[in-house]
Amino acid sequence: MTASTQPNLRKLTPVVQPSVIVKIGKTMKPWGDSFIKNVLPALIVGAIFLLIWEWMTSSASATLPAPSKVISDTWELIVNPFYNHGGTDVGMGWQILASLERVAYGYTLAVIAGISLGVLVGQSTWAMRGLDPIFQILRTVPPLAWLPISLAAFQDSNPSAIFVIFITAIWPIIINTSVGIRNIPEDYRNVSRVLSLNGYEYFVKIMLPAAAPYIFTGLRIGIGLSWLAIVAAEMLIGGVGIGFFIWDAWNASMISDIVLALIYVGVVGFLLDRFIGFISTLVTRGTSAQ
């Protein structure tokens, strides 16, 4: 045994090592390529943007802070995202989490109600004729216009903000779900009829997967809209949240804080969108490949 393995090892060692190096080199090279192709342009444009911003706001009479001033002004906020001095005086991390929590409640409710209503409208012609005109009118109402009426209904700011998120996110979810269900190919319905699938089996095994790409389009638009709406709604209702933080900073004339908050809002909105997009690609792998 040992006699036979010994020469093998000796033979293999010098061969293996260069091939490993080649492998690493091969995997490194595309990484470098993709960096040059995808990341570098964004870095260059970002740097140019910052330079122009710095240059335009460098004069003494400038009304907005330069990027360098934003960083020096808000350094405390950047390095301490999770401080808590009580009341609304908490770190940016807490502010964003508070906003995200409201979005999570409102959006979850919108997903449940939106997909259910979308299935109903997609399945039943009668429901579509009855509900579609109402949806088409209500969906054009701007999110903030719902705030006074929800304050009147709930008599409390937090549920009102959650309702505004709900009512903002629900329309694209309803509409896309119903279109997805209407577009299920007749063949799939025939397959389910030949197999004699019952209503529940049809719903789970055919309808949801077939409509999934459409549903996820609605979900993705919905999350974007709800993040847009929460910032505006929080400006009006107050309390902890990134929206009120911006409003508060404006009242205290801390423009640098506003700039920082806007960057955070943008990044979080981007991440939310990508998150739903990621789930979508996981779930609809097979369907969209057709």
């Binding site: 799939y188 009829r193 030949v194 699938l197 095994k205 792998r285």
Partner: protein, 285 residues
């Protein structure tokens, strides 16, 4: 009760109501015995698919009915499984899962999980698709998709297998290959098959009887041709067989002479009516 295995009795089908009503099928009668391979051939729009859908239960007849093995057909069911023209596999399921959906539903009570699993594998083996169990439909070729479609239909152990132009979307070589396979499977399990086709060679090669339909509207069965060729049939040997060629000629004659499809072009219609007028004048004179 009919003594035939499958009886299509006096089937009429009208689509629409009132002025817009069009009678697609009129008085279609056909008796099929167990283990028979029937092809239905005719020009497009003659209601072949309507007949198949009525047998499948996907459409209901306006008049008349279908009796299968002593029971009237009034809804779709796994005893009449269909292979659709465009395979109709569910794209989010793998090959195995597509067949499993049918098998698990049909044999939920009569077979154990192990038996069902074996039966799924056996069905896919029959169409030579065992190598692609975990592939999704988008990852396999058109011919393979249709094989899986056939496996799904066969796996339900139907009393009658309905093929709706099953090879229509395939290239000629793949089609020939699948035809051979269907012949082999039919010889093996002696299933009763109704197949819709446009292809004269396919009809003569595979069928025991060819049902030729007249042009619609109010289409009905024009002629039935019994193909008395011994099975198994070989397409290469049959190419020079005088009997085979005679059958072919008969179907062609039906399609292109007796039931020549008149294209509904407005100019053609006009000249036809002018001719008809002049003819009638000539007769009167």
């Amino acid at each position: 009760m009919s003594k035939h295995y499958l009886a299509i009795e006096g089937v009429n089908k009208t689509f629409g109501t009132g002025n817009k009503a069009t009678c697609v099928l009129k008085d279609v009668n056909l008796n099929i015995e167990k283990g028979e391979y029937i092809s239905i051939i005719g020009h497009s729009g003659c209601g072949k698919s309507t007949v198949l859908n009525i047998v499948a239960g996907l459409l209901s007849a306006s008049k008349g009915g279908v009796i299968l093995d002593g029971k009237e057909v009034n809804s779709p069911g796994p005893d009449r499984s269909v292979v659709f023209q465009n395979h109709s596999l569910l794209p989010w399921l793998t090959v195995y899962e597509n067949v499993a959906l049918a098998v698990n539903k049909t044999f939920k009570k009569t077979k154990t999980a192990k038996q069902r699993h074996d039966w799924i594998l056996r069905s896919l083996e029959m169409v030579h698709m065992s190598h692609a169990l975990d592939k999704r439909p988008a990852e396999i070729s058109g011919g393979m998709k249709q094989r899986v479609g056939i496996a799904r239909a066969l796996a339900m152990e139907p009393k009658v297998l309905l093929l709706d132009e099953p090879f229509g979307a395939l290239d000629a070589l793949t089609r020939a290959h699948l035809q051979d396979e269907v012949m082999k499977i039919q010889a093996e399990i002696n299933s009763t098959i109704i197949m819709i086709t446009h292809d004269v060679d396919e009809a003569v090669l595979l069928s025991d009887r060819i049902v030729m339909m007249t042009n619609g509207p109010e289409a009905t069965i024009g002629e039935i041709l019994t193909i008395d060729l011994p099975k198994p049939r070989n397409r290469i040997e049959l190419a020079d067989d005088p009997k085979y060629n005679r059958y072919r000629r008969e179907v062609l004659r039906f399609l292109y002479e007796k039931q020549r499809k008149i294209e509904p072009l407005s100019s053609a219609k006009k000249s036809d009516s002018i001719n008809a007028q002049s003819n009638s004048k000539a007769v009167n004179a």
